[in-house]
Symmetry: C2
Subunit: 274 residues, 2 copies
Amino acid sequence: MGRTAFIISDRTGITAEMLGHSLMTQFPLQFEQVTLPFVDTPDKARDAVRLVNEATLRDGAQAIVFATIVDRTIGEIIATANAVSIDFFRSFIGQLEDTLGLEASAEVGAVHPATDSHQYETRIEAINYSLANDDGARVRDYDKADIILVGVSRSGKTPTCLYLAMQFGLKAANYPFTEDNFSDTDQLTLPKELRPHRNKLFGLTIEAERLHAIRNERRANSRYSSRNTCYQEVRDLEALFVRERIPHISTTQRSIEELATKIIQESGVQRHLA
Amino acid sequence: MGRTAFIISDRTGITAEMLGHSLMTQFPLQFEQVTLPFVDTPDKARDAVRLVNEATLRDGAQAIVFATIVDRTIGEIIATANAVSIDFFRSFIGQLEDTLGLEASAEVGAVHPATDSHQYETRIEAINYSLANDDGARVRDYDKADIILVGVSRSGKTPTCLYLAMQFGLKAANYPFTEDNFSDTDQLTLPKELRPHRNKLFGLTIEAERLHAIRNERRANSRYSSRNTCYQEVRDLEALFVRERIPHISTTQRSIEELATKIIQESGVQRHLA
């Protein structure tokens, strides 16, 4: 028996979707998913209800609605759908009103305007910084970095930096350890560009076998992607992290969100977006 | 009277935080915010409860806990805190169990493993594509793009592309209209690199005054940032969007999330991450 899960929001629906996914993955079922963002007029709400009711009829089982709806009127219309309705927002607003002794403003996207514009700029600035300081392309701005991720090529530095910038407003640079850093005879040392910024360094490591698979997709049968190179680079860099007491984390089996959150937690870096 | 808002999760807490913010901004209050991610053992849960209880005592008003906790035991410990507790996850799991006639697995981060690894790769590939095809740096891979954002310099193309890639797994290229495209005498035309990909184009526009302010921060008192240039570029490009029937949206006053979601909705592009 297939069921349809609707994500309905008078804003983007991104949080409803993330939470809806978390809930759905707790059950061994496949849901057909329909996302309806910006349902912000009574007409659009009635259209959404119609779609939900059609799905319930078609599936022979109530659709599930995961919603975040700020506007009261829209919320009431959506609630009339023939579905199991879960509104992550409206479910709690009454409880908060009682606790705080205040009425909610019920404005879609209500925010403290000054903060918002400031936060927007913080975020864009962090993204621009992280792009400009990606992959060791520029090291002279490291003094402006909030954090500098270090790791071998393809260990996940770039996406993690971008997420740190986008979600938390952090200026996240990254520096790759490449062929030039590794030597067959000498012990790996901390490059001189990184030495003045030791307290900002955070290491990313990865299982050598996984690294080998990733690099092989990129440049098959090369020295760069060989099992031998991958094992050696990972081993030498992990040893350096330990010797230099650089905090580090494995990217294997971790999502970008998990990595970013763990890095903030373990480095103690101050987020710029609350 | 100050209050403390805790974000507590046995995972990253990112969704709890986003929803908690939405709820808090409905009230004209300032909250002291404390984020506690990865509270995934009974010991950590008891530490969290202690922090919450201390805040309630210190503030003379119950702390608010916004939580997403999958593990039942952890959830029960957190529920003992002297606080107004809102768990966006546990509040609904019982309702879903009843509806679906199934028991939730209660596993932290439970996911369908095959899908997950596939989704991870889709996401990384999209991010890499969007980085490589940023700012018109490379146009030969436009046939692989899911969408190509076009707009004047500093209209918000890059962050929007990165978000489309990160959140929705879309290969989002972007092409800037620069000085070279605009002419004082000739009407603006669609560059030949873009013509074969018309159906993938989506325009970003921006209020000229806002553009002027942004560019001025970057390169003050230049031709590039002058009010005159900004007004002319925006006007000419908007006229081109209309002439060529390219769907477009204003980035002024919109968050990156809103832009990305609207672009998906209005272009009809298929997301690669559900």
